[in-house]
Subunit: 158 residues, 3 copies
């Protein structure tokens, strides 16, 4: 049982074992989703490449580039604030494949969890809002990654 | 803080650190669940040993062997298609123990997430369908694993 | 792409790569949550330091020390048993940062999943009960960790 073939031969990830790569990918997504959910949108957008392509079903067409992505996520956060809901993006079931060009191809599931706020101790409500599939291409950036492209699909849409 | 005792002494997993083993187990389940949910049932069944024992509460008795497992999962997928629902199997909270015979004993939680399809932009509904505990025995197969046995219990059954 | 800076320089975790640390943290939480949900409260409490501080919104004030924590969790388990519900604590989206004093600072999301029991084959119901953020300080204890402090917030409370 040796290191997964292909992983160590990519240009972008020269000397890392599968365990190190997986740990960094998991760590990347944990911070990535927490930045979004905390409203740190500039830091979140900085985790995409300058020429990123961001394709999600809640937008009429794919967003291209960090500038437009920042405007788009700000608009989305504004609508969320108006709705009175809190959202958490939960990435899991992360399948990682290395590609010949040194990038990683990721296919993961994303739960969007929603809550409304109420008085203690009962509090408000929480529920599973969306189930999505998230396909990313990640490029290596130092000890972490940048998202070159993201395609999200929703299980509740045809 | 050294490598976990026992892990490196098993026959099946001779020279791997705990980090490498965990990464491979997580990667195994990610692909395993995605194969099932995508309907790639032959590939999914190929992740079990020939003589696997598969014990889940939705079946009247445990299924034995790949052939019967394939028939069983095809029947299940057919019923799911008729229901109009989409299901995602989300493995997490994965506890891994190495055993003296070189196998891994896994105890994990599984969420089954269900969705119905509706028109954009509202879409259909998504909800938490089941909460299960999944106990697997994994045997090493090259750089990945095969499921020798699986026992699933549902939190909503006595 | 080398090992993350800082991680290997901490006192508590002298020679471990980021992959090894992440695997141990993930493994720690998996067993930790399973111990709680299985009612093994003594073993669960033993995963905290003697002088731990445990701050969760369901308690009127923070609990200090293992003895009080054990009493508190026993009371909570008793109430849960009376309610007829089963709960699962699902830790995920785990962000890990090493600190100068050799501890790890963790910020993770926690889903609390609830089920009621019903007759087979329909069974009872399962639902997403709570969405929480869990901030822990972990100290290294041999090959595993102890929780020095825990602060939990609920998305459904102001």
């Amino acid at each position: 049982m040796r290191i997964q073939k292909g992983i160590t031969r990519t240009q972008g990830i020269p000397d890392l074992s599968f365990g190190e790569i997986r740990a960094r990918v998991e760590g990347f997504y944990a911070r990535h989703m927490q930045l979004l959910d905390s409203g740190n949108v500039e830091e979140w957008v900085a985790q995409f490449t300058e020429d990123t392509v961001f394709d999600v079903p809640t937008l009429p067409k794919p967003v291209q580039g960090r500038e437009d992505l920042l405007a788009s996520v700000r608009e989305g956060r504004g609508k969320l604030a108006e709705s009175g809901q809190r959202h958490r993006h939960w990435q899991g079931v992360i399948d990682i494949r290395s590609q010949d060009d040194g990038t990683l191809w990721i296919r993961a599931y994303t739960q969007v969890l929603a809550s409304t706020v109420g008085e203690a101790p009962e509090g408000g409500k929480s529920w599973l809002h969306r189930v999505c599939v998230c396909e990313d291409v990640l490029v290596v950036e130092g000890e972490t990654f940048l998202v070159r492209s993201r395609k999200v699909t929703r299980d509740d849409l045809a």
